[in-house]
Every structure is written in C-alpha cells, then in structure tokens.
Amino acid sequence: MITAKLLPGTAACQGCPSTMCLRTVLEALDKAVLVVPASCTSVYMGAYPHSAINIPVFNCTFASAASTATGIKGALEFKGIDAEVVVWAGDGGTYDIGLQALSGAAERNEDILYICYNNEIYSNTGIQRSGATPYGAWTNTTVSGKREHRKDVAEILITHDVPYVATASAGYLRDLYSKVRKARKIKGFRYIEILAPCPPGWRFPMDRTVEVGRLAVETGMWILYEHIHGEFRFTGLSRSIVEGKRKLRDLRDYLRIQGRFSNLSDEEIDEIEKFTQKKWEKLKKLHHELSHS
C-alpha cells in the first residue's frame, strides 16, 4: 500500500519549491482534501487518469479557490465528516484574481486552511508579473524591471482578524511543518504564505532553491512570523534577528544570486532596501502594539 501523499514522478521543474513544500504540508495533515486553482500544481500533479497527489484533490478555477473550499467544507460539516479542507494556491490565484473570494471566506471565518505558495510571479503561464512580484524584478511583462512594490496578502489577512496567519519559506521546511501542525489545531480561517523561490522564474540554478529560500530570510527580504488570535510574533531566524542574536546579511547577497535582479541600478537597490526596512519597522510596531495592548 502506498502511504506517501505526494508521489514521485510529478511533472514539476527540477528544483521546484512547490513540490517540496507541498510534500511537507501533506505530511503534516491527516484527513484532508486539497483544493487547487489553476497553477503550476494543477499541471505537475499529472494528467488524467494519473495523479501524483495521493489524497482527494479538487481542481477549481482561478478565481474560486476560497469559495469552492467554502462549499466543500460546508458539505463535509453538514455530513458530520471531520476533515481538513486545504487550499493550495499560487500568488496569482491568491494576490490577484482570487483575492475577492479569499477575502470573503476570511471575513466569514470559514473553517479552512488556505496556503499560498508565493513564487512572486505567474510561473505557470511563463513568468509574468503578479501583485506579489517585488520592485525591480524582471518578468516577461516587466522586462526592464517592475516599477511597483509588491502588496502583502498576509498583512491584508491580519486586518481581517482571522485566527491564524503565518509566513514560511521553502528554505525552512521544518518551520513550515510545525506551522501547518499548529494551524490544524485552530478552528476558523487560517492562512499560511510560503515564499517559494522558482529557479526558472527567478533565474537561479535549480540546485539552489533551498539556499535562496534561506537567503531571503537571512537578508530580511522575507520575514517569518505568526499571528495567532491577535497575537503577533516573529519566528525562526527572523526572531533571532529582531532579538539581536543574529545580524542581517547584506540584501545584495540575495539579489545577486538571481538573474531577475541582474539589471538593478544602485538607486533601485536603495529603493528595495528602503521598502524592506519599512516592512520590518511596520511588523515590529505590530509586534509591539499587539504585545502591549
């Protein structure tokens, strides 16, 4: 009997962060159904009649992940079936076309776990900008570099006051695993966003996915935290950085490894640095306010 939940032989690119994160997530779940909107995952899981995912999967349309999950969870609850309904969506389906349904489900506090694997691009259609693409990054629709900063759906969901919001990185799978385990125990709407460095989209060698995922956190470009029932706390390496136990690495180390940032000018790097600094200050303030209120 096959017990693995993500089987070998997916059609994913080599070095794909989505497959290793999905494997981690699935292992952290017991009885669950996966809702997958149009994304790389809907392709790499394989073609009918085969599938690489060994739990029930419902592939849905781009804009409908959170609402489809609402229907499935509603039905399971009505039938008295205790199972997790987990959305597994990319940043396109989460940040842009799916945001309305996501916000609606969050506001209704649907009892679902929504996971966004954020590779900061529409990778399935061949590397175009998304609302999550950072400033300065090359994509096929921002050939001279994106001129706007990314938005932040995790922060948007914090303002929805849902029970659980967390960030994770493909560089720290143990941290991801424990966050999924923690999210499982909480009732209501839960959101986890994983930074998922995409080798072809970000233009780095495929054997460096984990390294890039770690660099993002080490340089402070990606911040790990949890927001549980209104309490904010930094986690993992980000926590060590805030507590002064660990120094931030130069963000150029993160930018330099990726071809998508190869044409940045010094001014543009400064702009990224300023944005990153602002993000830290904002989260520190949130940490302070929520811990002392």
Binding site: M45, Y48, I55, F58, C60, I72, K79
Partner: protein, 372 residues
C-alpha cells in the same frame, strides 16, 4: 376568516410570489446547501431561504457569499462533496457566473438554480428580458422557462430529479417582476415520496481521487461527447419525471412543451415564459375574430424537444415571439425554431420589461402578416 385560512393550510395552499415559490420548492426538495448573493429581482429567493433556515423550517447550510461567481463555486464544491444545492440569480449575476456555469457542467454537478430573468446593462434595467439566461445556451445547463408561479414550484421540484439522474445542472427561469414579484395562491405540495435525500457518496478519503486535473485531448473529447449525449438523453428522463409528478401531485405541469388549440390551427404562435401566458389570451382574441390560431409554449429550451416541435407544427404557419435578442441574429428562440422548421416569422417583443399584453401580441402579428 380563520376557518378559511385553516382550510387553506390543510390544502397546503399559500399565496406566494414567484421567488417565494422558488424558496419553498428548494426547502421541500430537501436542499441542504444554499450559497447566495443578492441581485434584483432574484434577491427575495435567497432572503426567503435564509429566513426559512433561521426559523428552523429548512434544514440546510446557508452561506452569504461575496459574489455570484463565488455562489456558483460554493454550490459546485458542496454538490461535489455530496449535498443537494441551490442558488438563485439574475442578469449580471448570471453573466458573472458564466465561467462557473461551464465548470458545473464539466464537473457533472447537479446544481439547480432559479433565474429571475432580467435585462443586462448598460443602461441599468431591472425588468424582464430572457437574453440573460438564453445567452448561457451553450454552457450545457438544462433550461426550463416557466409561465406562472405554480409552474415555478413544480419545475424546481422536478428539476432536482432530472439533474441528479442525468448529472447535469438545471436552470429554472422565470420573468423578473412579472412572475418573481407577483403573487398567486399555489399548492405547496410536500415532496416526500417524490424526492428523497440526495444519496451521493461525495469525497472518498480512503480511496482518494484527483478531480479535474490535466485532461489530454482524447479524454477531454470523450468528456464533452458524454455531456452532449447526456443533454440529448435528458429528453426521455424529463418526459418520465413529468409523468411521475403528474401521478404524484395530480397536477400536470408540462416540462417539454405544451400546445393550445394546435389541432385545427393554421397559424401558430411559439413563445416561452410569461409571454406564453399572454399569448394564450391572444389566441382567444384571434379565435374570437374567426382566425384559426394556436400556441406552442416551449418549456424546455435546453434540451429543445426538436422532434416533438416539428411534429406539432408541421403544415402550420409559425410566428415566433421572442423576449430576447442576439444582436445581429435576432430573437434567440426564433433562431432555434428556424433550425428545426426552416425560415419562420419572427417578432421581438417586451425587451427590457416592455409590457407584453395580448393586444400587443395580436397587433404585432397582424403587422407581420400585412393586416391593416
């Protein structure tokens, strides 16, 4: 006074609007999941259902979603997971669902939806026009057009039996305001014995399957072919269930089409929805003038009972009255009838809620035929 009401209660007769009739039908058909978003003139369907659930009269999960796109997505999800689902919409709401309408068909989820027909903007027009649902013709949903409020109740009851037998979604359409907001005493027949709880396995966690992943050309082709055959095959199913409902309720509610004075008619009006009710009066008016007119009311637009229509109308002069417009093509029902009967006469009346009286129909037909 009190006695009269009590008597009515025993007969299960209630004075209801078309939208309330929809809601009561969904309740009695043992719907267990409703996702809804308000849009005029369908709003009171969802309002009535949420009230019935709140009062404990209807046992179902109700989700007030944030859009019609999400309403249909949630219904598809819940239907896939084994529950009997319902929603209602109109006009822009239906257009907004378009993607999910296709999805419901390919997913073979037996969702039933009430559509209170309304024009599409701009300019904003909240009144009756069948173009909204008729322009969903090619999604694969079965579509029935009701002409009165009793018919709405009965059709929704039968729609669930049909949908779950052929595994296709069904729209029950009726003119906004004309039927959605007018009232009539109707028989709210309890449906126990006609519809049982939906018996669908739903998600199998022990033997997991992947639904809707990449479908290579050959398998996609067979999927679509199977859907086409299911729509065609639904004609027989509809006929059987119509008969079963007649025996159950002692009430004949036509589901395919219905003739009025067709036997000796030389000229026949063909229409759908509330206009077909008015056309019946127009036939009476013309018969009073000695003209041998008849009426064919099309109830099932999808599947269109082509053979029956052809047989009923052979040798007669046909005038199709549409309350819909496909710009550049003309009336949508007219287009369909021409594909069955060859070129037939066409009149387009009542777009955007323009009142269609029997006199207006008679006037229009006379003009078409060169009367003075």
């Amino acid at each position: 006074m009190f006695e009269v009401l009590e008597h009515r209660e025993k007969l299960q007769t209630k004075i209801l609007t078309g939208n309330e009739a929809s809601a009561y039908a969904a309740m009695n058909a043992k719907v267990r999941f409703v996702a809804g978003y308000p849009i005029t003139p369908a709003t009171s369907v969802i309002e009535t259902i949420s009230k019935l659930i709140d009062e404990g009269k209807m046992k179902a999960r109700f989700v007030a979603v944030e859009s019609e796109h999400s309403a249909m997505s949630a219904c598809v999800g819940a239907s896939y997971a084994g529950l009997r689902t319902f929603t209602a919409t109109s006009s822009h709401g239906l257009a907004y669902m378009h993607e999910m309408l296709h999805f419901a068909v390919n997913a073979r989820t037996p969702v039933v939806m009430a559509v209170a027909n309304r024009a599409i903007g701009p300019g904003w027009n909240i009144w009756s026009d069948l173009s909204d649902s008729l322009s969903q013709r090619d999604t694969g949903w079965l579509q029935f057009y009701c002409s009165d409020i009793q018919e709405i109740y009965d059709t929704i009851a039968m729609a669930y039996r049909i949908a779950e037998q052929v595994m296709l979604p069904v729209m029950v359409c009726y003119d906004g305001f004309v039927l959605s907001h007018s009232t009539k005493p109707i028989e709210v027949t309890p449906l126990d014995g006609f519809i049982e709880e939906r018996d669908a396995e739903g998600i199998d966690f022990d033997n997991p399957t992947t639904f809707g992943n990449i479908s290579p050309p050959e398998s996609y082709f067979s999927l679509r072919k199977a859907i086409h055959k299911a729509v065609e095959g639904s004609l027989d199913v509809i006929g059987c269930i119509e008969q079963e409902f007649l025996e159950y309720s002692n009430r004949y509610t036509p589901m395919l089409c219905e003739g009025y004075f067709l036997d000796d008619a030389e000229k026949v009006m063909v229409s759908m929805g509330a206009v077909a009710s008015e056309a019946r009066v127009a036939v009476d008016l013309l018969r009073d003038e000695g003209e041998k007119w008849g009426l064919l009311k099309v109830k099932s637009f999808k599947p269109l009972p082509k053979k029956i229509i052809k047989a009923m109308l052979s040798g007669k002069e046909v005038f199709v009255i549409d309350r819909s417009l496909s710009p550049g093509t003309g009336g949508i029902l007219h287009h369909e009838m021409s594909s069955i009967l060859g070129d037939v006469n066409s009149a387009i009346l009542g777009l955007g809620g323009v009142d269609v009286t029997a006199e207006a129909i008679v006037g229009s037909l006379k003009r078409l035929r060169g009367f003075t």
